[in-house]
């Protein structure tokens, strides 16, 4: 009960502290520019009669652009979460309050994830705009956003782990990017696996397929389970890293 309260306090503080740093606005602006451009391309594509109408959302996620950008902003969002507190030393006051390392890590991660989701908020406007010019299937759109939220959780948790490893934010961002890239590439191995059973298993790690599924409105609980367990794993590692490094 009190852990929940402390968790809420940490999330609140951390989330709002994003908005006093210039970095947040840089990320927000870049994100809106890129999403706006993507939306423009989608509208162009929709004007072509031969474009399939079934998977509007998947247009958002198939570009390489999208993935690189997602990885980049996730590592930037997560980089300061734990490293900054260790650098300034405020971690000492934080961890001598009656909160566990796990609560701190979970709170930090949740705040980073909330900021990630916040970035996507303005894009809800795009389908709303489109719906004025035709009928939209809202199911796949909702599923698409769920898919995005899951990918965000995965990336931010990997970035959180990187942030627990170093006091330097830049190093945390770079290491975080490498971790996130690793998470992404694990799934790409699918194309190198010949054994059909194994291939099936690895394809659940493939994030391209993940997004494609969700964009089509297929909410596969196995994919949700994969993301959830990986997030928990990264947060567990972050907690251990924080426990080991906090005094240094």
């Amino acid at each position: 009960m009190s852990a929940l309260k402390a968790f809420r306090a940490i999330v609140k503080r951390e989330f709002f502290s994003y908005f006093v740093s210039p970095l947040a606005y840089v990320v927000l602006t870049a994100f809106l520019l890129i999403q706006g451009y993507t939306f423009y391309l989608i509208v162009l594509a929709l004007n072509q009669p031969e474009t399939p109408r079934t998977a509007l959302m998947s247009l958002f996620f198939t570009s390489v652009f999208y993935w690189i950008f997602m990885m980049l902003i996730s590592s930037v969002i997560a980089m300061r979460l734990l490293s900054e507190e260790r650098k300034t030393g405020s971690i000492e006051a934080l961890l001598t309050a009656p909160v566990s390392e796990a609560t701190v890590v979970a709170g930090k991660f949740a705040a980073g994830w909330c900021f990630f989701l916040f970035l996507w908020l303005p894009t809800v406007l795009y389908p709303v705009l489109l719906s004025r010019f035709g009928t939209l299937d809202w199911g796949p759109i909702a599923a698409g956003y769920l898919g995005i939220a899951l990918v965000g959780a995965l990336f931010i948790s990997a970035g959180t782990f990187a942030s627990a490893l170093t006091k330097n934010q830049i190093v945390a961002a770079i290491v975080g990017f490498v971790f996130i890239l690793g998470v992404f590439l694990v799934g790409v191995f699918r194309d190198f696996v010949t054994d059909p059973g194994l291939r099936d298993a690895v394809s659940y790690l493939n994030l391209l397929e993940h997004m494609d599924d969700f964009a089509r409105g297929i909410v596969d609980t196995r994919r949700i389970l994969y993301v959830a367990s990986t997030v928990v794993f990264f947060l567990f590692l972050s907690t251990r890293a924080l426990e080991a490094n906090k005094g240094r």
Binding site: R8, G89, E92, A97, P98
Partner: protein, 335 residues
């Protein structure tokens, strides 16, 4: 109540704190004194559960910090030495954040935050971002954050360091005022502070407790050992070095100048320095203006305890002379 039993910590095999045990009763202020690097901060970090001890245990209000950290830390307010607050937060926001973090019930939150802010005299800056405050204000904001949940035990690591004299007085008054509700452990290297604030003193050096007692008893113990002031006519630059060679002298420091040379000497227990000093001065042909026995101050106690170890170490290293203690400026212990 705070109890520490056989606390030790080593970093990579090098002991930083060795077998430290003490007890602080409710309503008591214990001064934790030691030169920089003596292990004060490490000990405090172990007490607050921030660092796991290599051996020993800490009881905060009868709860073991290592076994039940979340329960024990409820009764702890800690002001770290390197006080880092969130510069972007406003004072009231920060104190409220600490209240939420420490599990203050929402119904009491506002009242507690107001109370802590008033108690620490930061109500006039309650809506200023912490980053814009002076060091003295920040220190008090940190203190407000540390006591907003009304902990039984307060651990303050160098609470007055870096403050101007007026702020020091304010913070000291505040700490004295807090003693009625809290058990306080306070670390410092400023001696007058200990004399003014603390009921009991613990002197730590090289990770070990070298003395403990009330300021009065410590001074008394030390007055068994002689301290004399020697005043010589004219400038005698080598005076302190020469007088230090006299058997029984533990410390010699030149103080002041201006036509005469003043040397403060501290001797080993049971020795009488007056005669050997007189003979030495005579042998050198200096003019002795004054030879005064002194009442030992807390400063003598401290310097003696700390330099006794330094002398012992120098003995084991032939050819290496113990660093001569610098003249002691007003109340500060040489670092």
């Amino acid at each position: 109540m705070l109890e520490v039993q056989g606390l030790s910590k080593s970093f990579y095999g090098t002991p930083a704190v060795e077998d430290v045990s003490f007890r602080v009763e409710t309503g008591e202020i214990l001064g934790f004194l030691g030169p920089n690097g003596a292990g004060k901060t490490t000990t405090m970090r172990m007490i607050t559960g921030f660092l796991p001890p290599t051996a020993g245990r800490v009881l905060l209000a009868d709860v073991d910090v290592t076994e039940k950290p979340l329960v024990a830390k409820r009764e702890l307010g800690y002001l770290p030495e390197t006080l880092a607050l969130y510069p972007e937060m406003r004072v009231r926001e920060y104190v409220a954040f600490r209240a939420e973090l420490c599990g203050v019930p929402s119904s009491e939150k506002k009242a507690r935050v107001d109370e802590a802010i008033q108690k620490c005299f930061v109500d006039d800056v309650a809506s200023t971002p912490i980053g814009n405050l002076s060091k003295g204000y920040r220190q008090r904001v940190g203190l407000a954050g540390a006591l907003v949940h009304k902990p039984k035990v307060l651990v303050l690591d160098e609470p007055t360091v870096g403050l101007d004299p007026r702020q020091i007085v304010k913070v000291r008054d505040l700490i004295r005022d807090l003693r009625k509700d809290h058990t306080i452990l306070l670390s410092t290297h400023i001696l007058p502070e200990v004399e003014v604030l603390c009921d009991r003193i613990l002197i730590i050096d090289r990770g070990r407790i070298v003395a403990s007692g009330t300021p009065g008893t410590l001074r008394h113990e030390m007055s068994q050992a002689p301290a004399v002031t020697v005043v010589l006519k004219g400038e005698v630059p080598e005076a302190d070095a020469v007088l230090r060679q006299i058997p029984g002298v533990v410390r010699a420091a030149r103080i002041g100048a201006g036509g005469e040379t003043r040397v403060s000497l501290a001797g080993a227990e049971g020795s009488d320095l007056r005669e050997p000093v007189f003979r030495e001065v005579l042998a050198r042909g200096w003019t002795l203006l004054e030879l005064t026995p002194r009442q030992a101050t807390l400063e003598d106690v401290f310097v003696r305890l700390v330099s006794r170890d330094a002398a012992a170490e120098a003995d084991t290293l032939p050819g290496v002379e113990a660093e001569p203690p610098a003249p002691v400026p007003s109340g500060e212990v040489p670092q």
